[in-house]
Amino acid sequence: MAMLREKKNTSLATSPCAHLRVAYHNCFNRWYSEKFLKGQWDKEECVSEWQKYRECLSQHLDDKHLSRFLEADGIVDLTNQADSKRHDGAPK
C-alpha cells in the first residue's frame, strides 16, 4: 500500500498513457516531416490518436497547474510575449 501511495506521488502520473503517447507521437512525427514541412498544412491528421491520448491525459494528469493547459484555450504563445512572467498569475 505504501508503495502504491508513493507511486502516485511521483511525477509519473501520466505513465498509463505511455502507449497512447507513443502512438500519437509516431503519427505526429510522420505528419510533421512528410506533410507539414512540405507545405501540406491545410489538414490536421492523427485526430483519433490525439483524442485517445488526450482523454487518457485528462484522466491521469492530476497536477492542476498542468491540467489547465488541456483546456481549449490552453495554447499559450510564450515565445512572443515580452513580459510573460505573469501569465500564470495564480494568487498565492
Binding site: L12, N29, Y32, L37, G39, K43, L66, F69, I75, T79
Partner: protein, 185 residues
C-alpha cells in the same frame, strides 16, 4: 538576482531535419540515458493554423533536478514541472520554443528560449540555434546568502544539460540523414 546567458550552435543539417529532431529529442527512448533528467514529456495542446502554416504546441516537461540535501529539505521535492510552448512557422522556416517552470516558482524561475532558423550563410543546408536562458532564485531569507551560489550551480547544471541536448540533436539529425539517403519510400 538573475543570471542570464546566451548560446549559439550551428547544426550542419537543414532546418527541416533539425526541427524534426527537436520534436524527437525527448520522445525517442534511445535518448533516455543521455537525457536522464527528463522524466516525462506530454503534449497537452496543439493547434494548427491551416491558413498561415503555423503550428502551436504546448507540452509538459517533468524534470528531475536533484540539488544539495538542504535544498531538497526546504523544497520538499526534487522534481520540477515545466511548460514548453512552441511555434513552428513552416512558411518562413522558423521554430521558436519557450520553456518555463510552473512548479517551485516560490524558489526559482527558469526561462529558456530557443530559436531554430536557417543559417544565413547556408540557409538550405545549415541551421542556427540561438538559446537564451535566465535563472532567478527567489531570495528566501533562509537562503539569501546562498542564493547566489545556488544560481551559479543551476547555470552550470543547465549548461551541462544543454550540451547533452545538443549531442542528442546531432545524433538524431545523423540518423535522419542516413534514413533519408537510404531507401526512401
Amino acid at each position: 538576482m538573475v543570471r542570464a546567458y546566451a548560446q549559439e550552435h550551428t547544426y550542419k543539417h537543414p532546418w527541416e531535419r533539425v526541427t524534426t529532431a527537436s520534436w524527437r529529442k525527448f520522445a525517442d527512448p534511445e535518448n533516455k540515458s543521455t537525457l536522464s533528467h527528463i522524466l516525462e514529456v506530454d503534449t497537452l495542446n496543439r493547434k494548427l493554423d491551416s491558413t498561415s502554416g503555423k503550428l502551436y504546441t504546448t507540452r509538459a516537461i517533468t524534470i528531475h533536478a536533484p540539488g544539495p540535501w538542504f535544498i531538497r529539505r526546504i523544497i520538499g521535492q526534487d522534481i520540477c514541472h515545466c511548460v514548453e510552448s512552441t511555434v513552428v512557422d513552416a512558411n518562413s522556416r522558423s521554430m521558436q520554443l519557450a520553456t518555463r517552470n510552473i512548479s517551485l516558482q516560490k524558489f526559482i524561475e527558469v526561462e529558456e528560449k530557443i530559436r531554430y532558423d536557417p543559417h544565413p550563410q547556408n540557409p538550405n543546408e545549415w541551421t542556427i540555434c540561438k538559446q537564451e536562458t535566465s535563472i532567478r532564485i527567489k531570495p528566501l531569507s533562509s537562503l539569501a546568502s546562498m542564493a547566489e551560489k545556488i544560481e551559479q550551480k543551476c547555470v552550470d547544471k543547465f549548461q551541462q544539460n544543454s550540451a547533452k541536448g545538443r549531442e542528442v540533436m546531432e545524433r538524431i539529425c545523423k540518423y535522419l540523414e542516413a534514413e533519408a539517403s537510404g531507401i526512401s519510400i
